[in-house]
């Protein structure tokens, strides 16, 4: 009897010894965008994406093949990613949608093992979540370096480091391919990016903050972002028509986050005032592409925005065909779409911007 008990104890000891290295291997730490080190004893399985820019964060999350399997809930914010994510994830409709502005009390009952937030959400919600024991990872996704860093962070928490490196490599490849083609460009164009809205034929315009991705994209395309020269306040700043004339840009890109950039551009081209501005100053007015979201922002599609801008500004070096091929390649590689799926679901949405 004693012999049996002894054998059983030995077996238990052996089993626990073999398990010990396994649990140690799962243990990992991540340094987030706020440079905080967060330790995990196992890979998060119930992830919530919340706060500002949730749609962009969710789109980045879906770059990984594990996709929505570990996504528990997502906060409902403007520029909803639902339409796009439903297209690529059959299970997306089963995800919980949190109401806009959901706080600790709404998230805690879901018992998530990780909440992903933008860095700016720390005071608003992040501290509260951590106080009740819910781990939080902050991501920045503001400029190109941030995007690469945050992709690595998401790769780490999903145990998809290799995929993260692949994604970053592909971004860098497309980016340097475009830049290589622009090496011979010497003519610096003055560019103005305008977020435009139209209410009853009354247009209002805003320019982005100088530290944002839109500025970096413009500068890297050997162009002069005219709005940067003025010390404007942070965020989107409203400007009037006279200021736009004063900047006298060569190219104006109209951005609209409700997908109306093309309609607004057509409206402006038919407006008497804008007509005289465009003709007398030889301004190129174009609408920034929008498929499920606008391509100018820190979303996985920023590289498509960059490619399209390159083609608009330097059509001799970057043709429309190249943009279309990049779009198809992007959706194939980054979101795993099939060719015919891209043709039927994506190409019709962007064709108006590539004419």
């Amino acid at each position: 009897m004693m012999k049996n008990i002894f054998c059983l104890l030995i077996c238990c000891l052996l089993v626990s010894c073999t398990n010990a290295p396994l649990s140690e291997s799962t243990h990992f730490a991540v340094k987030d965008a706020l440079e905080r080190t967060i330790e995990f004893s196992e890979y998060p399985e119930r992830i919530v994406i919340a706060g500002k820019q949730t749609p962009m964060l969710a789109n980045f999350f879906y770059l990984f093949p594990i996709k929505g399997e570990r996504l528990l809930a997502i906060e409902n914010r403007s520029q909803s990613p639902n339409k796009f994510l439903e297209l690529i994830d059959d299970e997306y409709q089963s995800k919980l949608i949190l109401e806009k502005g959901a706080g600790v009390e709404q998230m805690a009952p879901l018992n998530p093992d990780l909440v992903i937030l933008k860095t700016s959400m720390k005071d608003e919600i992040g501290i509260g979540l951590e106080e009740v024991g819910i781990p939080v990872i902050y991501v920045s996704f503001e400029d190109i370096d941030d995007i690469n860093y945050d992709i690595r962070v998401i790769g780490k928490i999903l145990d998809e480091d290799e995929r993260a490196e692949e994604i970053i490599l592909e971004y860098k490849k497309i980016y340097s391919e475009i830049n290589d083609q622009l090496k011979s460009v010497t003519n610096v164009k003055k560019v103005l990016m305008l977020q435009a809205t139209n209410i009853d034929q009354k247009y209002s315009f805003k320019v982005p903050s100088s530290g944002w991705l839109q500025t970096k994209m413009t500068e890297d395309l050997k162009s002069d972002p005219v709005w940067v020269s003025e010390s404007l306040s942070g965020g989107w700043t409203e400007v009037n028509f006279e200021q736009i004339l004063n900047w006298n840009p060569d190219n104006i890109f109209i951005i609209n986050y409700q997908g109306q950039s093309n309609e607004i551009t057509i409206g402006l081209k038919n407006d008497e005032l804008w007509k005289s501005f465009i003709s007398s100053n030889e301004v190129n007015l174009s609408s920034f592409p929008y498929d499920f979201t606008s391509w100018d922002q820190p979303d996985p599609r920023w590289i498509l925005g960059y490619t399209w801008m390159a083609s608009e500004l330097h059509s001799e070096q970057i043709g429309r065909e190249y943009v279309l091929e990049t779009v198809k390649y992007f959706y194939r590689f980054f979101f795993g779409m099939k060719e015919d799926f891209i043709e039927s679901e994506i190409t019709p949405l962007i064709s108006i911007y590539l004419d």
């Binding site: 403007s78 520029q79 502005g101 809205t197 209410i199 009853d200 034929q201 009354k202 209002s204 320019v207 709005w227 003025e230 404007l232 306040s233 700043t237 409203e238 400007v239 009037n240 028509f241 006279e242 200021q243 004339l245 004063n246 986050y257 409700q258 008497e272 005032l273 005289s276 501005f277 007398s280 100053n281």
Partner: protein, 322 residues
């Protein structure tokens, strides 16, 4: 004396108007001949600056005269559309319009007007039922009604789409003349002009409302219907202006008081002076708003800043002010 002063002010207004036309972010061509041959500049003048400047003057006329009417009717120098809750309520109505009915200007204007009327009715009702002095009770009622609609506006802002509806609502809250083009001005011009003419030609009779109730009664002149009509005209005037410009504070409060300091209590003279000063005040404020920085500064911010400074100076220097 009064006529001479009015003429001087009218001249001052025209001078300011001429200077304002030359002020803007877009520089004037160096040579005078180029001005007329430069199609873009002429378009800019005709389609952007001139309508904006003219609407600014109209808005100043309207808001200042509304303030004068309310101060006369309520016998309270602090009464003005903002203090009585009209601005906040009109903003609340417009925000409901933006949130629930899209961006139709007509619905926005109608709702702004309806809520403007509701607010003034509520303020008067509360004021009569507050057991305080008449002046104080009116101010307290106005503050309560204003706070109530501000809170409602806050809820609507929270619910609004930050990219689509919220900017329109924020525009309402801070005020701007950047949307003043000929087409939008024409939508409100008939109402504004009609109200201004009515008030202008009725200005002599406003003095009667400044008298005490007992005196009016003994003269057989107490006519609440007439009073309500005048009040409605001034609310309609205010809401028509702010449906296009958003909330522009301080004009209705400070300008009528300055006019009274300059020309006296007689509304026959103080109303026109108030109108002209209101136009000048908005013109100067809007010149700063559109030309000082590359980005548009909200007009309501400038009028509040200038208004507060003028108010403090007058309080400190004029013993009979208010």
């Amino acid at each position: 004396m009064a006529r001479k002063l009015t003429r001087v002010l009218v001249f001052g207004l025209f001078l300011l108007l001429s200077i304002s036309i030359l002020i803007g972010r877009y520089p004037i061509p160096d040579r005078i001949l180029e001005i007329f041959s430069n199609e873009l500049f002429m378009n800019l003048m005709w389609r952007v600056r001139i309508p904006r400047i003219l609407f600014g003057i109209l808005a100043g006329f309207g808001l200042a005269s509304s303030g004068m009417i309310m101060q006369s009717i309520f016998k309270n120098p602090l009464a003005e559309p903002g203090l009585l809750g009209v601005n906040q309520a009109a903003g609340f109505g417009a925000a409901i319009g933006i949130l629930a009915f899209g961006n139709s200007y007509f619905i926005v204007q109608v709702l702004a007007f309806i809520f403007g009327i509701i607010s003034i009715t509520l303020t008067l009702f509360l004021s009569k039922n507050i057991n305080k002095k008449e002046r104080l009770s009116l101010v307290l009622a106005g503050i309560s009604v204003s706070a109530f609609f501000s809170a409602g506006l806050g809820i609507i802002k929270y619910l609004a789409d930050p990219l689509d509806q919220l900017p329109s609502i924020v525009f309402w809250m801070l005020g701007s003349l950047s949307n003043s083009n000929w087409a939008s001005i024409m939508q409100v011009l008939p109402i504004i002009l009609a109200c201004l003419f009515l008030l202008y030609f009725y200005r002599w009779r406003l003095n009667i409302f400044s008298l005490d109730k007992e005196v009016l009664f003994s003269m057989g002149l107490r006519n609440d219907f007439e009073l309500v009509i005048i009040l409605m005209i001034s609310v309609l005037l205010t809401t028509s202006i702010i449906s296009l410009s958003g909330i522009i504070g301080w004009v209705g409060l400070i300008i009528p008081n300055i006019a009274r300091v300059i020309i006296g209590q007689n509304t026959r003279y103080s109303l026109p002076v108030s109108m002209i000063l209101g136009g000048m005040f908005i013109l100067v404020s809007d010149n700063f708003a559109r030309a000082l920085l590359p980005g548009e500064i909200p007009l309501g911010v400038i009028t509040a800043f200038l208004g507060a400074v003028i108010f403090i100076v007058l309080l400190l220097t004029k013993k009979d002010f208010l």
